[in-house]
Symmetry: C2
Subunit: 625 residues, 2 copies
Amino acid sequence: MTAVSTNLTALAQQLRVDSVRTSSAAGSGHPSSALSAADLMAVLMTRYWRYNFDHPDNPGNDHLIFSKGHASSLLYAMFKAAGAITDEQMMTYRQMGSPFQGHPTPALPWVDVATGSLGQGLPIAVGVAIAGKYLDDLPYRVWVLCGDSEFAEGSIAEGMDKASYYKLGNLIAILDMNRLGQRGQTEYGWDGDEYAARARAFGWHPIEVDGHDFDDIERGYQLAIQHQEQHEQPVLIVARTVKGKGISWMENENGWHGKPVPKDKFDATIAELGGETNLTFDIPEAPTVVSDITGGTTGRWEPPTYDLGSSVATRKAYGDGLKAVGGLRSDVVALDAEVSNSTMSEIFKEAYPDRFFEMFIAEQQMVAAAVGIGVRGYVPFASTFGAFMSRAYDFIRMAAISQANIKLCGSHAGISIGEDGPSQMALEDIAMMRAVHGSVVLYPSDANQTAELVRQMADHEGIAYMRTTRAATPVIYEANEEFTIGGSKVARQSDDDKVTVVGAGITLHEALKAADELARDGVNIRVIDLYSVKPVDYDTVHQALMATNGRLIVVEDHWPQGGIASAILECFATHTSAGQDRGIDFRMTHLAPSEMPGSGTPDQLMDWAGISARHIVEAVRGLLD
Amino acid sequence: MTAVSTNLTALAQQLRVDSVRTSSAAGSGHPSSALSAADLMAVLMTRYWRYNFDHPDNPGNDHLIFSKGHASSLLYAMFKAAGAITDEQMMTYRQMGSPFQGHPTPALPWVDVATGSLGQGLPIAVGVAIAGKYLDDLPYRVWVLCGDSEFAEGSIAEGMDKASYYKLGNLIAILDMNRLGQRGQTEYGWDGDEYAARARAFGWHPIEVDGHDFDDIERGYQLAIQHQEQHEQPVLIVARTVKGKGISWMENENGWHGKPVPKDKFDATIAELGGETNLTFDIPEAPTVVSDITGGTTGRWEPPTYDLGSSVATRKAYGDGLKAVGGLRSDVVALDAEVSNSTMSEIFKEAYPDRFFEMFIAEQQMVAAAVGIGVRGYVPFASTFGAFMSRAYDFIRMAAISQANIKLCGSHAGISIGEDGPSQMALEDIAMMRAVHGSVVLYPSDANQTAELVRQMADHEGIAYMRTTRAATPVIYEANEEFTIGGSKVARQSDDDKVTVVGAGITLHEALKAADELARDGVNIRVIDLYSVKPVDYDTVHQALMATNGRLIVVEDHWPQGGIASAILECFATHTSAGQDRGIDFRMTHLAPSEMPGSGTPDQLMDWAGISARHIVEAVRGLLD
């Protein structure tokens, strides 16, 4: 490497050359989208982006999120120019096993979150900025590089809205307005005034600049910072740029999105850009500060307790449990999408108002903010109706790639909510959440169980989802019973069980009623409370199947696809299954709603859907015929 | 019923009384949210809403969508006031089996689409208005009643954006700005200027009115229509209203969202509102027109054909097939989220530009527009990367409640896309789409198969999803082979098969390679192409299991949860399963990615994930040990 340089042209051209080199070596990538932003990033990294590459966890570091994740080659070129990585490392771009992936992920220590699903970086940055302003109380800035195409995503509007609502004067978004999307001109082309007008309407301060004029870029950043010194307002720098800038035949030409420079043009292109260099540049120093965040246990665990036989909704126990976890751990934060009096997260809010963030009805932003707040080491719990978690599915999917440590709670699950009808019924949330990489899916049936599992969600590193029930249901476990992620409870058993019935949440209570009724007729069944749907305690199910000659009933308040029954059956491929045990005569009945429900009382709907105690009794008798 | 009346006060008060009566009788509902909009709807229905209740399918009818679906009691009260239903029918509100559900659904003939997940009615209305302007060429208007809380949803921004982009001068949204959300004040309270400024920034014409002053409401509607006679621009009427209007103790009070009038206040409340009436009112006549839409076959089926042994990506065949279906059926329409050159819907676009709608990167709006266009009888196909379908999951879920006839295509599915990395890989789409009520899920492996299945998707009434592959794969079927929704193909078989291997899409080709390799060693396997994942052809799988002594390998490019293996295993509950057949020794191996992938070549990643031919060979040998 040569000596530290501060020549902006040299830096910008090196970023361009490296973006071309990496993508051409990989045979794929988005160099044209990197080139448009190279000048913007050259000025940012040498003058404004305060970052300590040796200590990526330094709480004083600024955060830089590439919302346009497809410009990854530019980001990695910046890492090289900052001296953080070698040219050789960078050149592993997009190769098997390389952390320099096609789109940035936290496989690299300097990347906060995964991007690549457009419209997510900005809303997540809002979360990081909320943490900086309201939790960390630290002066770091959050910078976001956005593409123009992604401004069509509603999630960008949600992020802009919440950024001004929370007066995020520590958030600066840079819009790389290069006019061209993947398949032609974007919706607004080079109409910077259009973007500026929208930003202004959303309470932002827009600044329009020429994204290839270093002086104008410099002016833009300076104005942004000056503005934020006086106003608690997010700033959008609308930078007019040229896609493919610097390569004469690629500039502003359609058809070059996501395409590397062809081999036959490679040498001439590199020459036009000024040739390969290996300069390094100083990044402004970030203040080294010590974080106030103390993870893990800082207080006492004073869980709510509920009396056996009383009736308490698990959503109420979620709220109580969350408040208790808030007392136990100062790093726990809660968010809600304007339904905190239904999810009962309001109980936490009342106890810890400084750690509660109202996201109004913007579920995507709620999950994005949770991911962003998690970047700073907090443990966010985000809640809404289970049905509306589906609104944020792409964000949850991406959170798994971000290795995010977020907790989600979906209330009012299933047809058992009753009169409000199908739009409010989560009947696909278990399928959806199980298919998130590394997720935990919990579905408690009892208030004491719920509170304990909320605590374990906080301790568990990763994405954990809890499904709660609207109605009050009987408390069946003592306050001090043990429940674990990956566990289950045998809720009813005898030496003479004829059938295994698996339920969870609301259906467990139906299974217990069925067990009582059958017992009166001298028929014993084993009832398993499968409160941990993922990971699933198949061993206990299998033991029960062995004891009941392979007779299995799964009863769930969820569509038949992808839910609790599937969680069990999928184990047939990895565990010794009932079918694989000689002498066992496996027979199964699956009780789950199969038709689209309407309104009705909870009892009517559960009976209509075939998941009430009466149907379980019938199914048991059917399996014994 | 009494004689037709035009007294607005009488109408508005009847709407209020009926909203209170129905919700109190049901013991649930949202009367306070109905009361704020009663005056707005009273003026609308008697002066501007052109509708023929006897012919809800009359193409000349205006459309009215309650985006704030929780005000359903108001909508049903309007139906009564229009003479469409009796008081007795209305009073079945929220009862089991009643079409007058907690939130509106097309269980009623006068309801276009289900609402109740906030932020969806407006984007869907954009689709109806697009149909009116660009497909029907009819002068109907689309009216949408919106709540203020739902303006926090990004999908509202997407809808507003597309409404102005498509110059929808036939769309009028009415914002019932009643200040209070479910749990307190909304984000912007009564700041009508804020909503108006945002609407203006999005290219709408805002008109602010007092939502309880009939003259001002009248002025608002008149101005809206006058404006649209001269400008092709959507209008937002920002109506300042009072939640619970008309009930002195409920007006503008927090804590009354979603709560009926208590029994002890009921009589006095009805009296205050003027008492129960059964007036009917004339609705402006809608012109009776004949639609140009001719459903079904209008042209010739001239499918693309591909030669056996050539290599064609199924996404390419999707584009070709869609164009062919466009020739066959004039009611087929296509939409894309700015990736038509990847999904290959651009082939349709080039052939039928008038039937193609670019939604830019706004997947929620894309699905919403499809639902809205479907309301008018067209058959919309909407495509994006399979990964990004997750962005629209709540809209797809709700589309099922809307009984929508929409077709979705998710391209670039699975880790086999290679270098772009996990953000672009759909690895949960099968789980997600299978858990949509009544859905069809197709995953073709071959170009000829793809084209035929695209045709069948068009013929199928309901939600159908097709998953396509990025890479070119071998053509293995003749152009005239038969494929059906719910079918499968036995792609390889002999009299001496040892193991059943089920694959679909990209993994089918790996299974065939494995079969070739094993055959060279004298081991025959049966290979099933399970191109219809839902409904699934379990009978064929079962027959194969009988022939292979219960040995099953499922290989799929999808997370292990909720995918193809689950689709098969779930059948154990409804079909005779392998485990239930005496003498069959069921053993299963499931090959699916289990760790988070990074970048790599398709071959490297498939091998790394354990779903390549080599792993299938190993798995076969493992099952035979």
